[in-house]
């Protein structure tokens, strides 16, 4: 069947045969840019709708079902409405930074998409420090939040921004350690290598207990990094009315909203790549028969499936748990996750060196 891979490469070849390289690359860049914008929009719409439906069913209700078939157009209506809503800037706010913050957040989210492998050989830039690049760029997003909270000239915003600042930077550590424990196994930061190394099974299964621990820690950490409940102190509605984007309205608010969901997608896809083999179908050792069957499912499906499963898990957390208090939150990181992940990393190193993994 026609897979993502073939399409993209056909386009690529055609461009480079018909035009001279520099023109071709410009055109290709144009296409890619449009695709990415499209991806953003679609992700925003789909994920928000998904969230609302999931929460609805967990809360024994129906959720949006009147706008469009089965409520499918609900989020579209919301987006349009937000676009048609006045975006006001409070006086006393630092206008420049206030307007800059949403841009920064969106651009950062965009940049992280570069090394993500959406399907077999479908990847913008397979750079040799893939994972490190992702964690590096994602550490930029906290600046956007601090900027927004700072510029709003609003107490709730400032409190929310400081909270999420401390929270995000803290949890970056354990996320990094968890990722490292896979890097130790693969011996490369390159995304494609990491996926390739799971040809005979996903690390989650190959890596014994340490891999599972690392996986859990990673999920918790990214939940905190994306300010999701139960770690959503930045937007703790009942305490600070809306956290760092209290003063944002209309499209600027929509951009924050969108960036939040795109970040969720990104971290989940990274988790899927590290532990569940990205687009790699479920292979088990040398069971060639089984593996071949699995290969019939196109790689893009695998990738999307895994990612959305993880996203669902995040939503499951959100709609089940109460919110932590700020000090408990930081305790969890510094007293539990960080030490555990350090020890876990050492175990993993031992396994890697001794080659005990499958």
């Amino acid at each position: 069947m026609l897979s993502f891979e073939q399409i993209t490469h056909a386009i690529d070849k055609w461009l480079f045969t018909t035009f001279n390289p520099s023109v071709a690359i410009v055109i290709e860049g144009l296409i890619v840019g449009l695709c990415m914008i499209g991806l953003f929009a679609v992700l925003g719409l789909v994920l928000v709708l998904m969230e609302r439906k999931v929460s609805a069913y967990m809360q024994i209700r129906l959720g949006p079902n009147r706008v469009g078939p089965g409520g499918s157009l609900q989020t579209l209506a919301d987006t349009l409405k937000l676009a048609m809503k006045e975006g006001l800037t409070p006086q006393g706010a630092d206008k420049f930074l206030f307007n800059l913050a949403p841009f920064l957040v969106i651009v950062v989210a965009m940049l992280i998409l570069a090394p993500i492998a959406f399907a077999r050989n479908v990847q913008l830039w397979d750079l040799n420090i893939g994972i490190l690049y992702v964690s590096a760029v994602s550490s930029l997003s906290v600046i956007g939040i601090l900027m927004a909270g700072w510029a709003s000239n609003n107490k709730y915003s400032l409190l929310g921004a400081m909270r999420s600042g401390a929270q995000i930077v803290s949890y970056e550590l354990s996320a990094g350690f968890a990722a490292l424990s896979i890097v130790v196994l693969t011996g490369s930061l390159r995304i494609s290598d990491i996926i390739e190394s799971q040809r005979d099974g996903w690390w989650l299964f190959k890596g014994h207990i340490p891999a599972i621990i690392a996986f859990i820690i990673f999920i918790i950490a990214v939940t905190a990094e994306t300010n999701r409940a139960p770690f959503d102190l930045a937007e703790a509605e009942s305490e600070l009315t809306a956290g760092f984007h209290t003063e944002y309205s209309g499209m600027k608010f929509a951009l924050f909203f969108l960036a939040e969901y795109v970040n969720i997608f990104i971290v989940c896809s990274i988790a899927a790549t590290l532990f569940l083999g990205g687009w790699m179908p479920l292979h088990i050792g040398a069971w060639t028969g089984f593996n071949r069957v699995m290969d019939y499912i196109p790689s893009s499906i695998w990738f999307v499936g895994k990612t959305f499963f993880l996203i669902f898990v995040l939503m499951w957390f959100r709609w089940t748990f109460p919110r932590l208090r700020i000090d408990q939150l930081l305790n969890l990181e510094w007293k539990y996750l960080l030490p555990i992940s350090m020890i876990n990393l050492l175990l993993m190193t031992l396994i890697a060196i001794k080659g005990w993994h499958f």
């Binding site: 809360q59 024994i60 709730y156 959503d232 305490e239 600070l240 009315t241 748990f321 109460p322 408990q328």
Partner: protein
């Protein structure tokens, strides 16, 4: 006065929570002085829903003024009406027929259940868990339907009249209530599963907002807020009204004094109310549902005080009559008012997140405080 507060010592931040705020359950206005995230001072500002009910009642007849009181503590509106009816009956020595007494008590307990369910959902929402709210409302709706069938309204059912109840219970009443109790007995287990045992919730609640027994009495706290500190203050036990004297039920008392204790007290009260309902539902005596009363009620000259146990604590109605058809002066001693006065004492030194938890477990209803 906000200006005068805001010039605090360097590094202290004065934040207004409310009047419009998700977690203040209405229009309570708290001026919170923070240093970092730690609460230095909480100053409640009331009156954003002060509807001058006491003044109104001075110009309403003894039949009419009852309905206004269901707007005070609308979550236990039934019990408010009950208290007023009791006070009028006390003044006129009306003998309430036994059937009416039992019906009243049943309604009270159902109201208490509904109120506690809403509290449970809302408080879980305050600490960030959104799903319990919807589960709680499923049960609450079941109660509302029963109420609606018999009283004709979902929330502000004006069902109590001096001398009994306005109408006889609906034929389906007993069946439905039995169904409900069976249904709720199993669901309350889910409550524990979802919230009570949850490690995050526990750590949010335990050791937060401590209130000692002495302070509880001195601040005039009543109801679950005081019982959680080990003060026995259940009017249903101390000075039983209606048929509470003949019933077997326990006064839920904890000694923790913190938010978690208050939480547990209310959870136990739900079970107690259930058992009360189960005791009564099958043996409602036959007979009149309303005593014969004159068309126009006149209380003799004098003072009459009656108190009942609402879902929030001790509600007192103090009527001073000059012998006319309207009260000369009427005073509602509302439980929330006194409980709120302890808020500052309870919240000091904790985090701003804890303030939300404390308010959640105090279960404040602002119109009840402001009146």
């Amino acid at each position: 006065m906000i200006e005068e507060i805001s010039t605090t010592e360097q590094g202290e931040l004065v934040v207004n929570l409310g009047p419009q705020h998700p977690s203040t359950h209405g229009v309570l206005h708290l001026v919170v002085t923070l240093s970092g995230e730690t609460i230095k001072k909480v100053e409640p500002h009331l009156g954003y829903i002060h509807r001058s009910i006491e003044k109104m009642c001075e110009s309403l007849s003894y039949r009419q003024f009852i309905y206004v009181t269901s707007r005070m503590d609308y979550l236990s509106s039934h019990i408010n009406n009950h208290c007023c009816a009791l006070c009028v009956e006390k003044g006129m020595q009306i003998e309430v027929p036994p059937r009416a007494r039992v019906i009243r008590v049943l309604m009270d307990e159902l109201t208490r259940l509904a109120s506690h369910q809403l509290w449970w959902g809302a408080m879980a929402m305050d600490v960030g868990a959104l799903t319990p709210f919807f589960h709680a409302f499923r049960e609450r709706e079941a109660i509302n339907d029963i109420m609606e069938e018999t009283c004709g309204a979902r929330l502000t059912m004006n069902y109590m009249v001096p001398g009994g109840v306005m109408a006889d219970i609906h034929p389906d009443f007993q069946r439905k209530v039995k169904e409900f109790t069976r249904f709720f007995r199993e669901k309350i287990g889910e409550y524990d599963e979802l919230v009570t045992g949850n490690i995050i919730f526990k750590s949010r609640m335990e050791g937060v907002g401590f209130l000692s027994a002495e302070d509880a009495v001195s601040y005039g706290c009543t109801g679950p807020a005081a019982r959680a500190s080990g003060v026995s203050c259940d009017i249903r036990k101390i000075s039983p009204y209606e048929v509470y004297g003949q019933l077997q039920f326990e006064e839920a008392i904890e000694t923790g004094g913190d938010c978690y204790a208050r939480y547990l007290v209310r959870m136990r009260e739900m079970r107690e109310s259930l058992s009360i309902i189960e005791q009564l539902i099958d043996n409602i005596p036959d007979g009149e549902f309303q005593a014969k009363t004159k068309a126009v009620l006149k209380l003799p000259k004098g003072e009459f005080y009656s108190k009942v146990e609402t879902a929030r604590g001790e509600l007192g109605v103090y009527i001073i009559s000059e012998g006319g058809t309207t009260p000369y002066r009427i005073k509602f001693r509302s439980p929330g008012f006194s409980n709120l006065s302890a808020l500052d004492h309870m919240a000091r030194g904790y985090k701003i997140g804890d303030l939300v938890a404390v308010m959640g477990t105090l279960d404040l209803v602002i119109p009840d405080i402001d009146r």
